[in-house]
């Protein structure tokens, strides 16, 4: 990868994070410096609540999934009493990772492939083969795996390595309403995670995708070729032939900027944000009415109308995940290295809702998270070019000042700005500086 020494900070002290974020600008080394990435793993990803999994991914006792908290692998396992525990994926003997699959079932506990030490769902060391060799030497209890703190919000499981972290609901704050938005769309109150998962990656820093997803100015430029192509195909359609939903999504990027200027962006403490909905895709009339009926039966007419009337675009839950309630899609942002990031997309079924709701979710997630999506391919290209460009030249500071004077409303816990603003990026870096400011 292009980069290296030239990208390190020169004038302010290199690893004093408080020197890297200034009003309306940020030092480029936050993207390009491997040492800063290491500090982020220690100070951000070890402190924040990190989205891990949904309860429905582990329906039965012994079911597990493997996930990441920053650079650390964790295993979440459902125990016989129905509780979900998270433990590090690391044998306490010689450090071998216990589990090599993303999901599976281990009703007999997790056995290490090397010498067969066996760990319960909650990390307790249950058995050591050839125990007699350890007679008077090893107490099993000394080698239990330390459980990771886990909390659920409406079935969505989060973990944190920080014993002192604020309760999950406080971490979520107003953003809990975007998770409500997803769950309340289910006429049965249940949501079920699909086993089919969509992964892509890029050679760039994890923050670049957080700074891109609610950037409403870039689509008109970065995705203009898709708009041109979608229009060309639309122009060639036979009389009465409907436009495919996937093309509708591509065309949504061609909206005039004033549309986004009028739309609201909401930012909240700890780096979170969302903007108002703008994809505008709707269900067919049959689905719309069957779905509305089912929701009314579950929620009553007032709440059902409120649920169906809610239209938010992506909610960015800093620093680990992005949520689209309307399309039942959650994406995990997995930082791998300072210059390598994986995005993992999950879709959810709403039991009791017409099948079309799931089709829409699948269509959205495929369009918004596949490396083969013409729109995503453009974003990935930009991320990698940002890494290249920030690897040289004398200009060290990256402005994030768009809309700096345009905030519309600020009440405790919530600020409203135009959706064209870079307020969400400034908000992310305020949280970043907060997490990074003090050593653990």
């Amino acid at each position: 990868m292009v980069g290296g020494m030239a990208t390190l900070l020169n004038s302010p002290p290199r690893l004093d994070p408080s020197a890297l974020v200034r009003p309306g600008r940020v030092h480029r080394s936050v993207y390009t410096d491997a040492e800063i990435f290491r500090l982020e793993m220690e100070r951000i990803f070890s402190r924040a609540w990190i989205y891990l999994a949904h309860e429905s991914e582990m329906p039965a006792a012994g079911d597990y999934v493997r996930r990441h908290i920053g650079s650390r692998q964790v295993i979440l396992t459902r125990d016989r009493d129905g509780a979900v525990h998270a433990i590090p994926n690391r044998c306490s003997h010689r450090g071998t990772t216990l589990c090599a699959f993303d999901r599976g079932s281990a009703p007999g506990g997790h056995s290490c492939p090397y010498h067969g030490w066996n760990f319960a769902a909650d990390g307790r060391l249950r058995g050591v083969p050839q125990r007699s060799n350890y007679e008077g030497v090893l107490e099993l209890g000394d080698y239990d795996l330390q459980p990771v703190r886990v909390a659920a919000y409406r079935g969505f499981l989060f973990g944190t390595l920080d014993a002192e972290a604020v309760p999950l609901v406080e971490f979520l704050g107003h953003m809990a309403t975007s998770i409500d938005d997803l769950v309340d769309r289910s006429p049965s109150g249940e949501v079920v995670c699909s086993p089919h998962v969509l992964r892509h990656h890029y050679r760039g820093n994890w923050k670049l995708s957080f700074e891109n997803l609610n950037d409403t100015i870039h689509p008109g430029f970065a995705h203009s070729a898709s708009v041109v192509s979608a229009k060309a195909v639309a122009a060639g359609l036979e009389e009465g032939e409907p436009l495919a939903a996937s093309l509708g999504m591509m065309l949504a990027n061609g909206k005039p900027i004033q549309f986004f200027q009028d739309l609201d962006m909401v930012t909240t403490p700890r780096g979170h944000s969302y903007i108002g909905g703008h994809m505008g895709a709707s269900y067919t009339a049959d689905t719309q009415s069957a779905y509305a009926q089912a929701l009314i039966a579950h929620h009553g007419p007032d709440k059902a109308a409120r649920v169906l009337g809610t239209d938010r675009h992506l909610m960015l839950l800093y620093p680990s995940s992005t949520w689209h309630a309307r399309y039942q899609t959650v994406r995990i942002v997995r930082p791998v290295r300072h210059d390598l990031t994986e995005i993992i997309g999950y879709t959810f079924r709403l039991p009791g809702a017409p099948e079309e709701t799931y089709r829409n979710a699948v269509e959205y997630c495929t369009g918004a998270n596949s490396a083969a999506s013409p729109v995503i391919a453009d974003d990935l290209e930009v991320y990698e070019r940002i890494m290249d460009g920030n690897g040289f030249d004398a200009r060290e500071w990256v402005p994030m000042s768009r809309g700096l004077r345009e905030d519309r409303e600020a009440v405790p816990g919530l600020t409203r700005s135009p959706a064209t603003s870079e307020a969400f990026i400034r908000n992310q870096f305020a949280a970043w500086a907060d997490y990074m400011g003090a050593a653990a």
Binding site: H196, A230, T347, T366, A371
Partner: protein
């Protein structure tokens, strides 16, 4: 027609389709597909229908047309310089023939892809796996109703994919 004759025709069609992609002759490529076709690259070999989950590609003909139109658009910097591919098609088989003449065929394919981005060995990639074609008998011969590409790394994490497999 004899079994050998049908197999020969199917093999020629699958090889031609791959060649048209390598030649970037997308208009001719699209013409090989039925109007209601599906081009599908699932994320798991367990997937049974294109609707049952997310996919790398899950295109109807409109999306195939938009995607390939974009590949030739110089403003599509995410695909520029545009990728060059070479398909190697091997082991074409007829797995089943329905009563109405619909042919279910499969082949093994390796796709070499090159896109010059100044990233040295990363500029070349290799994809491959089992490709399944559902070919429908039409007035103008066999046409592709479904192309399903089961990559060996279907579950894997992909970087940008511009060219169809």
């Amino acid at each position: 027609m004899s079994d050998a004759g049908l197999r020969e025709r199917v093999r020629a069609l699958i090889e031609d389709e791959a060649r048209l992609l390598d030649d970037q002759d997308f208009e001719a490529w699209l013409a090989l597909f039925t109007p209601d076709c599906r081009y599908w690259v699932p994320v798991s070999l367990d997937q049974t229908t294109p609707g049952d989950g997310v996919a790398h590609f899950n295109d109807d003909k409109q999306l195939m047309a938009a995607r390939t139109h974009r590949l030739l658009n110089p403003r599509a910097f995410g695909a520029e310089p545009s990728p060059r591919t070479a398909h190697v098609v091997s082991g074409v088989r007829i797995d089943a023939v329905d009563d109405d003449g619909t042919v279910h065929a499969s082949s093994s394919q390796i796709i070499l892809e090159y896109r010059r981005r100044d990233r040295f060995e990363e500029d070349s990639r290799v994809f491959g796996g089992r490709v399944r074609h559902v070919l429908r008998a039409t007035g103008s011969g066999l046409r592709i109703a479904l192309k399903r590409v089961d990559l060996v790394n279907a579950e894997g994490s992909m970087n940008a994919l511009a060219a169809p497999f």
